[in-house]
Assembly symmetry: C2
């Protein structure tokens, strides 16, 4: 987060009349509150308290509490995107296009669940202000590579098609199936009966879940046979 020049003063020990950087400070405070306590914890009063400012000062920068929460939600989505991208960046490319496409796809799922586990408050917040169509093109819900979590998923699925592991006929709607699986595990592992499992177990389940999705996504037998992709194969 950038700080503007001049008398920047965040937190309590403020001496100047002007805060100088209030909007980002409120956002950061709201983000930390979400991190610790989920969407319900994102209140105007506590955010302003943390920024060292009167409650109503927030109204200079946000229309109301909902607007602050929506901004925090965007930031949480971006954090999710970043975690997925981290997971993908950690992969070392092989010479096998198929293997790479599979690994990229798996990383979306495991990164997603990992984020939910590591940052349950942010995860809940990310889905507390519902987006209308999967975050397609929302410029603020985006990770460092300019993609939303949803776009990372659709991208990985597209590559599986390109590489011939999912038949083009099965592609439409596949994002919702994959997303459901991974999102469900995440919520069960945070708030549900799987919440007391240790991280290792959850990781094992999430790996197996993504395998299940991969396998199950190809309805037609065609996709299990080599060389049936719609696009020509460059290497292999």
């Amino acid at each position: 987060m950038s700080t503007t020049g001049g008398a920047v003063n965040q937190d309590r020990g403020r001496t100047t009349y002007r805060h100088g950087d209030l909007r980002p400070s409120l956002l950061r405070a709201g983000y930390e509150l979400a991190q610790a306590g989920g969407p319900a914890a994102v209140t105007l009063r506590e955010s302003t308290r943390r920024a060292g400012v009167t409650p109503n000062a927030a109204y200079r920068h946000f229309a109301d509490r909902q607007a602050l929460l929506a901004s925090v939600c965007d930031a949480a989505q971006a954090a999710l995107a970043n975690t997925i991208e981290d997971e993908q960046a950690a992969l070392e490319p092989s010479r096998d296009r198929r293997a790479d496409a599979v690994a990229l796809f798996r990383a979306v799922g495991t990164g997603y669940v990992r984020f939910a586990r590591q940052e349950p408050g942010l995860f809940r917040t990310a889905f507390s202000v519902p987006d209308n169509l999967g975050g397609r093109g929302d410029p603020v819900r985006v990770g460092r590579n300019g993609k939303t979590p949803f776009q990372l998923l659709t991208g990985a699925l597209d590559q599986l098609v390109e590489v011939g592991l999912i038949s083009p006929a099965d592609r439409p709607g596949a994002e919702f199936l994959a997303w459901s699986a991974v999102h469900g595990l995440s919520t069960l592992a945070i708030d549900g009966p799987l919440r007391q499992l240790d991280d290792e177990h959850v990781r094992a389940i999430s790996t197996r879940l993504v395998e299940m999705v991969e396998l199950g996504l190809s309805r037609s037998d065609a996709s299990l046979q080599p060389g049936t992709a719609a696009t020509p194969e460059h290497e292999v």
Copy 2:
């Protein structure tokens, strides 16, 4: 819900000093509040208001607000179990054991999603008081056949194993994979980006999702071949 004999008086028009049936009335009120507004809407004040009674009267029957919510949560779980059982009861058995087992399994998933869609408030409430191990044997979270939603799922999976469609090696942990998929779709279809899809689309996606799970749950190729079940086949 049963009513005891004597001066039963629910709702506002009460004339006797004693309510006579307050605990069930509070539970019913809480249930209706959950139905309309989810877990957060289940308040002691509104429940007692609806029962035609002073707020503190609730403390004769519930330790605190959390205790009331927990009871409503149990009732919501039971309602979920009933919806799944309805879905299963609507099936007409064929002569094919395998087909029947598959249908039974699918009904768990589609019933689950249907419940979430039809009763979003109850669905959210059902998972708001987290249970520790999948509701195993909890006597109040049970449908008319004495089974929790989780038990209906494990039962259906067991039958898929018996019938040879899932290899026994793949069985352990399968409930969490199936549950994740179906639970994820439910939440996406209620609060998430799929919430504005019409029922028909959601039903189509849920059908396909369950197929995906079915297909993906059998990691080993063995389970795709006929006659590899651990138990002997009675018919077929």
